[in-house]
Amino acid sequence: MAQALPQEEKLVKRASGGDETAFSELYDLYFEKVYRFVYYRVNHKQTAEDVVAETFMRVWNRLAEIKNVNAFSGWLFQIARNLVIDHYRARKPNLDLNELENVLAYEENFLDKTNLALEHKIFLEVLEKLSGDQKLVIKFKFFDELENHEIAKILNKSEGAIRVIQHRAIEALKKLLN
């Protein structure tokens, strides 16, 4: 598993002991990533604020239970993703979880289309042709800029499995782009 930076490890340990300053530093480290992760899935500023706030509140409530400080960021994104799923399920109770990521038309909001270069547009079209897991892994890696251990935690797979999926996805993309 990827190692958390020593500084981050210390912050997580301190925050798990109730240190609010350490927790605020973790918030500074992760806010932007988590916010983008959520915002470009819920497509609504107020909802994104609420979901991101709820994510960090849950982290604060349960931080004392964390056993492996290296798993902090993966756990953080797992909570964020679960809250996004809850949000969608509240709106559409019968939504198939496997199709959720495909329903999230975050490209519409995520990318500034006026500045989108041609190669980006082609890339996005090709991306849609990948299998479900491959598409998810590439989106998490490329758009959300998550690390393998974070993606593994979210998808409940091993890091090794994520690396394999990523490798196959890249090979498939190369073929399609060529």
């Binding site: 240190d19 300053t21 916010y35 983008r36 509140m57 500034d112 270069a117 190669e119 490329f142 993309l173």
Partner: protein, 278 residues
């Protein structure tokens, strides 16, 4: 560039102020959790079973106001000194105090407000850098509410005195626990508050003993009624305290000896004791 050697596409920037706005929600939550933990850690008051009285019109109006502003009131409940909604919380308390007419209600309201100050002190002290001024101000208010409550309870029902003693004992316990975690000026302020609590306990205990003494005296000198056998209060005036000495207008030779059923042993001829010689 990422590992795909593909340039990351242009992203829309996160709106400014979002980070701070979200952080404010998180901090409010953290403080609410701390307040709840502080309340759970305190032993909890044994609220007396107050007799319910008819609601006065003023109370009814207050209820309407609270139901209208209920959402804000609820949100303000967890606020601490320095928070946006704290002044609203204090304003609601002023309304509560103004509407409390009977001694019973005043003691109840003042007890509740004193307990809130106590919980706020505990929550402020639990923060990373407890704000000295906010802690001092909150302690001063705790002292004020407690003294007001003691003042009202002292002239009220013995049951209220007992529960006022319980509250002040709880205050002393919580403040002592909090003091252990502190240093410097804040620790000194907490010590002052503990001293004030001890003075309140002493005053209430003295009141309690006086009231107990008076009621025992009343029972001993009460007249037996023919019909019920119940002891009625003595027609003589109540004893008074002068410089700590209980002065009773009842002469020693007027005392009836009573048996276990509180009936006089000899109703026809009371047992007259000799007056003490000097």
């Amino acid at each position: 560039m990422n590992e795909f050697n593909f340039p990351n596409p242009a992203r829309k920037p996160i709106p400014s102020g979002e980070k701070e706005k979200v952080w404010f929600k998180i901090v409010s939550h953290i403080r609410t959790v701390r307040l709840q933990q502080a309340e759970q850690n305190s032993k909890g008051l044994l609220w007396p079973v107050f007799r319910f009285r008819k609601l006065a019109l003023g109370s009814l109006i207050a209820m309407v106001l609270v139901s209208v502003f209920g959402g804000v009131t609820k949100a303000a409940e967890g606020s601490l000194p320095g928070d946006t909604l704290y002044s609203f919380k204090k304003a609601v308390e002023k309304v509560e105090t103004a509407l409390a007419r009977s001694e019973e209600k005043k003691v109840k309201v003042l007890s509740r407000q004193a307990k809130k100050r106590l919980v706020e002190v505990a929550a402020l002290v639990a923060e990373q850098n407890p704000p000295e001024i906010a802690v001092s101000d909150t302690l001063a208010e705790l002292k004020e509410k407690t003294e007001q409550m003691v003042e009202v309870a002292s002239s009220a029902d013995p049951e209220l005195v007992k529960h006022a003693i319980n509250l002040v004992n709880e205050e002393k316990t919580v403040l002592s626990q909090v003091q252990e975690q502190l240093k410097g000026k804040v620790k000194f302020k907490i010590q002052e508050a503990i001293t004030a609590s001890e003075a309140s306990i002493a005053k209430l205990t003295q009141t309690s003993e006086t009231v107990k003494g008076a009621s025992e005296e009343t029972a001993a000198t009460g007249e037996i009624t023919e019909e019920t056998g119940a002891v009625s209060p003595s027609p003589v005036s109540k004893p008074k305290i002068t410089e700590g000495v209980l002065e009773s207008p009842v002469l020693i030779h007027d005392v009836f000896k009573v048996n276990g059923n509180r009936d006089p042993e000899n109703r026809e001829s009371p047992n007259i004791l000799n007056e003490p010689s000097n």
